[in-house]
Subunit: 368 residues, 4 copies
């Protein structure tokens, strides 16, 4: 049942392998008439592309996006937008020694069991390069959301045990630091920590946070398509994410109701909450407050130490991984989390346009 | 876009409000030929029904299930199975005072903003009674999974700060204890803690864990429909869940790769892993190991203390909640987590039947 | 993959067998705030219920609809609307002789091959009673469409070789005649023809036409979800329909372009067409003109003559069908065609609300 | 809600405009392990490519397919297969005069009304070139179906009033004749007729038939996803198709039950039918007989005569269409019908693999 298609109103279909010719995405159902140029997409691609700093992989890819359809005279046409990025710096030879070996922490074994064989070059479809299509599609949504006053901001909250300090938070730093941390001081310490870890031939995990401002109350569908359920799936579908929290997240399980309930209050313009333990979502539907989620990312499984494992015949072997790997996935995954949240929010905001009968009757009255 | 429909191969459509005539579910796509009687469903309904112990709501509902279609001569027919439970103990008057007031921690405000008004009686569709349909449908899947050697077991891991001790784990206790804890000793302490909390007119949160045994390697789809992404959505869609962890979950973000990677080894029958930090899922696809997830549940928002809030006009008011409420949602939500996991796993196991071309060609060769 | 669920924005899930306890439907995603009472649904149920005239089956069913959820204080709440009709006049004994025999023209054999066995009583799920759920759901959509100025009208165009005369067309007759013909004179002849056919223990087919007025230009999605493709599926999914035509339908295959093209012209208010060969659809998208389709319905397969067939062991046998059957399906299927078209049009009109970026931005600007 | 995505188990996402850079398709969910090379796809592309004979458009396109992902070492990997065809012979200048004018019989007006503007070059997305993606994806399915003993064969049944004679039917001629007729004699007359029509600056319609052999009984889902409903949608979604018939199609509406019922009989190997009025489908589910459908195709709307129409301002104007157009769409659409049927049948055959509980339990027993 597929697996590489996401969304309901706006449906994206991603494709491509780490060491294939190209990777890309087709975005179907994106509304017509939005101005779009290549740079709108490229600036998001550049945030995830490899080789930008000393704390990411040294694989150099320009990750230049081509828009092949769905845009005419600088505007989206309402028909599918196909976007593609060519691979230019594959070094498949790096992977010849793992062709028949299952790397610990990787999907080699589970893919082989599922499909009977796999494209082992660079992890094939299980590579982080798979997220290129997500980011290209997410960039489209980010542009439309910004016109709607919705601002989606993801950043690195922590790497290993080095976390940002909220009082140093400066949004513009997210795009400037090597770690995508909004706190320059924490970034500096984190970079040093990553370097030390690299010297030990080891890797690190971390936490990505996403905050979404400007979403009106009422977004999300009851029961199975709750806003938090949809966001959790979106973020948990990113490789290496092992836990997702909404609002105060896991802290709530040890709290009492009197501590955790957010009181409503009247701030003279609209109803607000005194606190935001809920992370902007009540009963699966946005409450008008800032939406907050955190994704816990595991350390890169590719480490340069000798590890124990088995081969395709089940024989015990040792493995030494070569190649160019990120010592920590988090900094480059920040924009992926942002894009997955953007896709999800926009999709649910569109669904919400038909939540009331009078929304529909008035739309068509006006159209006539 | 709906919201009350779940699944791809087996699609369930749930309906009903807390204080309406009835609640139920239609299960479409359930395979033909499985023996089914009412008791198969009722025993699951009984696990979630209210009024069973002193630590749940005192609302008494028999929650007796009626099977209205899709079963003939004791077997499923392959056509939709419609199941229904009548409400018998509504006390709508308990809610007349909250008709125009937004209860803190509840979905009153977000529903009103979405739909323009709401069925305020007992929370309407946002009530925990909504899960009746999930459990009835999940019971069907549990039966089929057990024939396939798949065992899904959810239990209460902790309530407030009282957690089970793994060395006291005895699965049969889950069905015997008031808290659904598998550890009698922890259960005893938790019950006392809940009572003390009730006396303070407060409520508690907790953690539910689910372990799934017997799932072969290869289940789950790449990219967006990863097994962990699907399970996260399933569990996060249950009201009051605010965080989900897979395997070691949030612990992984502070680990190094050398600590977190699970080594593969040959246990002479099949490939296994020395450790199971991954929680049975690698690259979004099952690795043959036990699948483990945890859901963090917030404290019941209905507490009997006076709280500050606003009414529908935005005026500041105080609220005193009456009615019959669970002091902690966790014990009755355990079976809901189990059922949502069962629905998700079975659905993905069906999808996996067409993952290889030879699976399809051999199926039809055999059929002829 | 299910099969009893239909729609994208508004999703209906139908269930029930001819001789089970009940049949019904759950409508998920229907917008909130529309006034709804039982009579809105019942009047459509009455149009399809059996036993109304001498030219339908003599099975007497009141087909009284119960609304179990999704309506509060006389208005839809936006949550699933569950509706149910109890069976009251089953005579399952009529079917004991066909338990192991495949009736010609029926789905007995194909169901047995698919599922391994079947609920043989009255055709089980393959009975025309399956359409109860479609009509209940369609009635909801008809009400909302009428508020939007969209009028869906189906009628009997012909029975056997007796067709209506366009110049006698009077819409109100559709609800008055036994045949659902809008032409009293044709109705009279058709009734006589049906009676004669009944005396010969035979059955008849016919043609149902549906005309949809008030749909603005622009409805329908390009490529696979064209308006005509969606309507064709909707109508072809009704049992016994074997051909569907849009606009001039099959006539177009023998025409020349110069004959078939509809010229556009300016009628001072908006663009119109001089002719309507296209049936209101160009390139799969409505052109603002009346939408026209025709469904060709096969004769009732249950006839009272001795027929040759085989039993479940494959042995050649003769069969004599008993029971209460419509001599022609067409009159009672008219409202089903109408309802399937209503469901389809409304669903696509909702999809269209997000076809342009400015529709979305303006909706949310207004909401704030 | 999209519109360019099709299928449930195997989902295809097509994209591209007539005069854009390229067109293509992403096929998600195609099973792993099938040998695949470019030629498997190219031979189908060549059947639909323009410029092959004197009775098609003179636009010359090589329509050479590139496979960009999802294939490794000559076999499908189970991950998305992305295929692309570059446009090489656009002559957009041919369309500058119709930029602001609505061509009769085309989707210009309905697209403008839907999206606010359109890519007018060559019809943009509404061009017949849109079907390139369908054919590339269909070619994949045809290969897998042939391994399963399923043979899908479409051909031209008639052009204008020139129809094939069943007794001259020779399947191999379909690929040899300019008209895709299986009858050499009819082809000859049809070619002459087309030429005469071209001289009159006019165009022709016709009928495409598709026959599907080797589908076992039991394929198709009850109610909404009936095999005939699914096939109708598939074929009606092809531009210019205005009617679809299953089996004897529209003839059945004028028949009696005694004439139309197909008797079952025992042919010693399996149950068969004496006649096949049903076209291989009973109750929406295959009955094991040959599946037969016919699509009625309208004449090419682009004709070289002066036509009356209006422009975007609603002013009455005359239009003279230039460019390179097929005088009849039918011959090149034959392979599109074949491919849409192949996609639909394979998808429903996969769905059917989980129709019985024992199919599922046995699959997983064997896997272990």
């Amino acid at each position: 049942m597929a697996g590489s298609i996401y969304g309901k109103n706006i449906m994206i279909s991603t494709w491509g392998e780490s060491h294939g010719d190209a990777l890309g995405v087709v975005v179907d159902g994106f509304p017509a008439g939005m101005e779009l140029n290549k740079e709108d997409i490229q600036k998001f691609m550049d945030r995830r592309k490899p080789g930008k700093s000393e704390v990411t992989t040294s694989r150099k890819e320009k990750d230049e996006v081509e828009i092949l359809s769905g845009v005419f005279e600088g505007r989206t046409t309402g028909t599918p937008i196909s976007m593609l990025v060519r691979n230019t710096s594959q070094r498949s030879a790096d992977y010849s020694n793992i062709k028949d070996i299952y790397r610990p922490g990787h999907a080699d074994y589970s893919y082989d069991e599922k499909y009977g064989f796999r494209d082992y070059r660079g992890g094939g479809r299980a590579s982080g390069r798979e997220t290129i299509g997500r980011v290209a599609a997410g960039a489209l949504c980010m542009k439309l959301l910004s016109k709607m006053g919705v601002e989606v901001t993801a950043f690195t909250r922590s790497i290993g045990d080095i976390a940002i300090d909220e009082k140093n938070f400066d949004k513009k730093n997210i795009l400037l630091t090597a770690t995508a941390m909004p706190d320059l001081e924490a970034d500096k310490r984190a970079v040093e920590y990553i370097r030390a870890c690299q010297e030990e031939k080891d890797s690190l995990g971390g936490v990505i946070e996403c905050r979404i401002k400007g979403v009106p109350a009422g977004i999300g569908e009851p029961v199975f398509d709750k806003l938090d359920a949809a966001l959790s799936k979106a973020v948990m579908s990113i490789g290496a994410v092992k836990a997702v929290e909404i609002g105060d997240g896991l802290l709530v399980s040890a709290r009492k109701g009197s501590e955790n309930n957010d009181s409503f209050e009247n701030n003279s313009i609209r109803v607000t909450k005194k606190t935001n333990h809920s992370g902007g979502i009540l009963g699966g539907i946005s409450d008008g407050d800032e939406i907050i989620l955190r994704a816990h990312v595991k350390p890169t499984p590719s480490i340069f130490r000798t590890q124990h494992t088995v081969d395709r015949e089940g024989k015990d072997v040792t493995i030494n991984i070569h190649g160019r790997h990120d010592p920590v996935i988090v900094p480059r995954a920040v924009v992926v989390v942002e894009c997955m949240c953007a896709l999800t929010i926009l999709d649910l905001m569109i669904s919400n346009m038909s939540s009331r009968a009078d929304y529909i009757t008035e739309f068509y009255k006006k159209l006539k």
